[in-house]
Symmetry: C2
Subunit: 237 residues, 2 copies
Amino acid sequence: MGTTERRASGALHAEVLDALGEQIVGGDLSPGTVLTLEGVARLHGVSVAMARECVRVLESMGMVTSRRRVGITVRPRDQWHVFDPRVIRWRLAGRDRAAQLVSLGELRSGFEPVAARLAAQRADAGQCAVLAAAVSDMTVLGRAGDLEAYLEADVRFHDTLLAASGNEMLQALSGVVAEVLGGRTHHDLMPARPNPAAIALHDDVARAVRAGDADAAEAAMRAIIDEAASAVAETAD
Amino acid sequence: MGTTERRASGALHAEVLDALGEQIVGGDLSPGTVLTLEGVARLHGVSVAMARECVRVLESMGMVTSRRRVGITVRPRDQWHVFDPRVIRWRLAGRDRAAQLVSLGELRSGFEPVAARLAAQRADAGQCAVLAAAVSDMTVLGRAGDLEAYLEADVRFHDTLLAASGNEMLQALSGVVAEVLGGRTHHDLMPARPNPAAIALHDDVARAVRAGDADAAEAAMRAIIDEAASAVAETAD
DNA sequence: TGCCGTGAAAGATCAGATCTTTGCAACCGC
DNA sequence: GCGGTTGCAAAGATCTGATCTTTCACGGCA
């Protein structure tokens, strides 16, 4: 899942767009580089119209500008829309991966406690149940040492929490959390067996949310993130 | 500022795109609505190619999907890339304005304290100087009751802080802060004369950042946001 | 030296053609 | 009568190539 956007329809567009995006993000096309529509078209074996469509999308992401008589100019990194899922994916796919994970992690440390607080005020019964189930799964799977399944439950927990915050912007960040958690698991930054204390903290969050205790939920979530940070630091050393 | 994207180049594209975006965000085109390329083209008096380019951009923002034999379908709100500056702008421009400001405010309460913490660890001398200058300006302008200029200094303060965090994703959220602060000022949610205590808190942040005291910076920023929330609640009542 | 005019490069926009996929409905056999 | 099959046509996907417009760059002129 998630290799290429779609199989049949819009395949060409997605292909060229991904190729260009990865080249820019990966540094093969550094800021200031100037392309021409015709050049892009020829290089990727597509028509100018198709190249234009891709460029328009890139432009909408702040990654290039198009000017008459000049061409397509790659913009500096600080102009990119770094919250665009595609940009995140490209960065994670390239050499920028480590930096991107750090950024996402710092970001997460900001918004997840807030989400927990809001969730405590707004979560419905179904969401509380999903949270509890996820914690339960994490406990079992963690004990069994099945890191992959554990990750799934962990992601489910955090996704549900963000959804329960009732804030669509926080909810939109669920991909960020999934990436951070997945990156940790898939880069040997996790202990062989998840820390039981971490799972207990998840349980604390779930209980606080169900109890409607915003302060406790926020605090427990903050503790989760602190624990994660120190665990990674420890494993990495 | 900010009426239309650009005057001369790419004007048509931006116009049609904005029109479509505002229609979707504003609810004139509710999720599930199906359009055709030709319909869009005719309705806006542009060629099919142009309509396609706009649709491709909308598609890249998660606002529509395109399927053969069906047409262009407007996707439900929870699929939109709500961090895209354009989506934010469209929402702020339409009837969704209030909800958008609430979302942005909640979000801000999450990431700004973290940004303050990071800035305390990473800000350079120049950034500290800008922060101090902004606080100074806020003091003077606030006393004078010049809300517009005060706003500018306030935005400058927060922008600089986010930039000093050294995290490009936090930095990318400076537009969010600007919108929240601007929205507050331009919707009579500010007292006639800014609260001196709030300005003092900004000073606390600036000093903590310069001193490299991450905990103090984070706490002071959290206090700023709490103050703002209660001030708005008070003024709104 | 510096201003101005002119040509060409490259995007902006359009018109129309061909190909592919696919929803839908008519059709057929059991 | 119902489920599967087939075939038409609608609508996007992609391409080709033409025209218009802006603007950089170079060269001539004062």
